[in-house]
Symmetry: C2
Subunit: 375 residues, 2 copies
């Protein structure tokens, strides 16, 4: 037996037909976490309840000595401390962030990776400097095509040793819709370690993989980036050799705040007959959510919910509500979002080998108790 990285870093695979969640998947589930669904009640997710995914380790960082380098195809290389970044005009945006792998563990067959169910989401107020302001100051050279972002988290993945890196097309990096941020604050406080302290990228509307944490380098390039997280991971492939399309913006999704109270182990909900307020959130990174429907019969019938369009936060989830007349029996609640471009959520799983961008409708099993039954 050799002593090589390949010994400890296996290729991607799909779980077998009857294969339960493995201890490796569980180890990821135990360190990363989703939002407890009842926390969907908050417009802005309180600290510690926002979903977290870290590929490698959370790096140890000190703000005083942290330097962000902006280089590559620019006229003037920048090297900025966090205090210097704070001298630029700051922008705060409320952004709903979702992991590209959300829903993966519900797929058949199941791609073996971070085993999310539906809860890899959260909304925060991010404060920082628009990336386009920094790029303008550095002066992007003709011929530039992409901007590569490097984080301080280091590890090996599918045999490839790497710092976490992702790129954005230059047009996105220079744009103001969405306004890409180099962020140093979350909900008005310094970034928590697990959210990228002291600096991270925020790319409103894009899945989480684009929001590079522990950001230490920004490089403008004149060739497309072919690093692992761009060319190997985060692509929508149907088979192993498929080139696939890149994962980019967030597909629409609605989630319910599970009503009533839960069973500890099954998480099945218990309600009483009568009007039960169904509430939740809906979002899309492609266009504004324009409609939410609910169902309590496993998706056979759908009813329009009241959607709140008033918040003015373009990149944040919208609350919705429906008064359900619950009757005794077993029900499965679902919600389905549609956005202004007509994208909606499928009732059959949208499968790909990475389990990415999967916005299958949520299923919330509910028992409505019969008041004449005594247990």
């Amino acid at each position: 037996m050799g002593h090589r990285l390949d010994d400890v870093s296996a290729p991607a695979r799909l779980a077998g037909p009857d294969e339960g969640i493995s201890q490796e998947e569980l180890a990821l589930a135990a360190r990363n976490h989703g939002i407890p669904l009842e926390a969907l009640r908050y417009d802005v997710t309180p600290p510690g309840l926002h979903y977290v995914l870290t590929h490698y380790d959370i790096p140890y960082a000190e703000e005083d000595t942290w330097r962000l380098v902006l280089g590559g195809r620019v006229r003037r290389r920048l090297r900025l401390g966090v205090d210097e970044l704070k001298t630029y005009p700051a922008l705060t945006q409320r952004v709903t962030l979702e992991c590209a792998g959300n829903g993966r563990a519900l797929l058949t067959p199941r791609p073996v990776s971070q085993p999310w169910l539906v809860e890899a989401v959260g909304t925060a107020e991010w404060t920082g400097v628009p990336l386009r302001v920094l790029l303008a100051e550095a002066g992007v050279e003709p011929g530039a095509v992409e901007v590569v972002f490097t984080g301080a988290d280091h590890g090996v993945e599918r045999g490839v040793e790497q710092d976490y890196q992702r790129a954005l097309p230059l047009v996105v990096a220079l744009g103001d819709d969405p306004e890409v941020l180099v962020a140093y604050a979350m909900n008005g406080a310094p970034l928590p370690p697990q959210h990228g302290y002291p600096l991270r990228l925020v790319v409103p509307g894009w899945y989480g993989m684009a929001h590079v944490k522990w950001l230490r380098d920004i490089t403008v390039t004149d060739t497309p980036f072919t690093g692992f997280q761009q060319a190997v991971a985060y692509r929508l492939r149907q088979y192993a050799g498929d080139g696939g399309e890149p994962v980019t913006r967030i597909a629409p999704r609605a989630l319910l705040i599970p009503p009533g109270f839960p069973d500890f182990m099954s998480r099945t909900r218990v309600v009483s007959p009568g009007v039960v307020a169904l509430e939740g959130r809906a979002w899309s990174g492609r266009a504004q959510v324009t409609g939410v429907e609910v169902s309590w019969d496993e998706g056979r019938s759908w009813y329009a919910a009241d959607l709140d369009r008033g918040s003015g936060h373009r990149w944040a989830w919208r609350p919705w509500r429906f008064d359900w007349a619950a009757t005794p029996g077993h029900h499965v609640l679902s919600a389905r979002a549609t956005d202004a471009e007509g994208h909606t959520q499928p009732l059959e799983q949208p499968w790909n080998r990475g389990g990415f961008a999967n916005n299958l409708v949520q299923r919330v099993p509910v028992l409505c108790r019969d008041p004449d039954d005594t247990a």
Copy 2:
């Protein structure tokens, strides 16, 4: 099919011999979370990295309207708002808190419940009013034997609908070693929702189940409490009908900060040959930790680590360190704590049906790369 709680709330069970982690266990792992082991580097765990376990839902609470009632076998019933509690002299204690089910998912056979590996731990500075001060003001009546604490979280568990409730013996509730707190602050800020906002109990040295969150009622009783979480759950049973001993104080445990860098999926660590600083934390709720040993050969040989005894925080974990001379090859690192009463950690699993108080030594697989090997 009826419409009863038993339909959705099954009895406790053990996983079958080849049964992977179920989707129900995964749902608990996705909403609750452990400490990412690299966060053991912090003396006090930053917000959002401390382990969290919630039996039911996180209740929605507002500090202004919250009332804590202290009644039962007392001369004078108290009804206190959070502002009133803050007028009492405050005490701050640094406390390491561990879930009683930590390590459960590593057991064979595996009790089906929240599937912790080793990471259900964290350390915080808790600020509040000593419980004995409140009990003294209320005046405990003769004949009292226990104090029952009720939280606002409501659910059904193994068929039993309940608010979360636990009791302490009167002698513990009235004692000052440990100093039991009714806490309203964590690390100098209001409690986060998932840690019991606005009020929780803190019982230094005891497993997490005793630290009742969303505390709304304290009742002094003249009979022992027989509620679900006291008489059914949280007991050390060898078989289903076994009365079992109650789970109380935290058994000693040491954990390593995994050295080097990880593989994303297997979490195996990669280091280079030479001196590798092994660091970690060790704690016991029974007595001070007096020694930590490390091993890199699956527990066959043990070497004494340097234990820092200087912090003065009786109920917090202690840091330790050992300089390991890593050589190329595959290793399994472990650490083992011993406390002043001679309690230590077993190399063979201490099994019980609930998977409680299991302090089997941690195993951290490490690849030390051969510098002559190129991949």
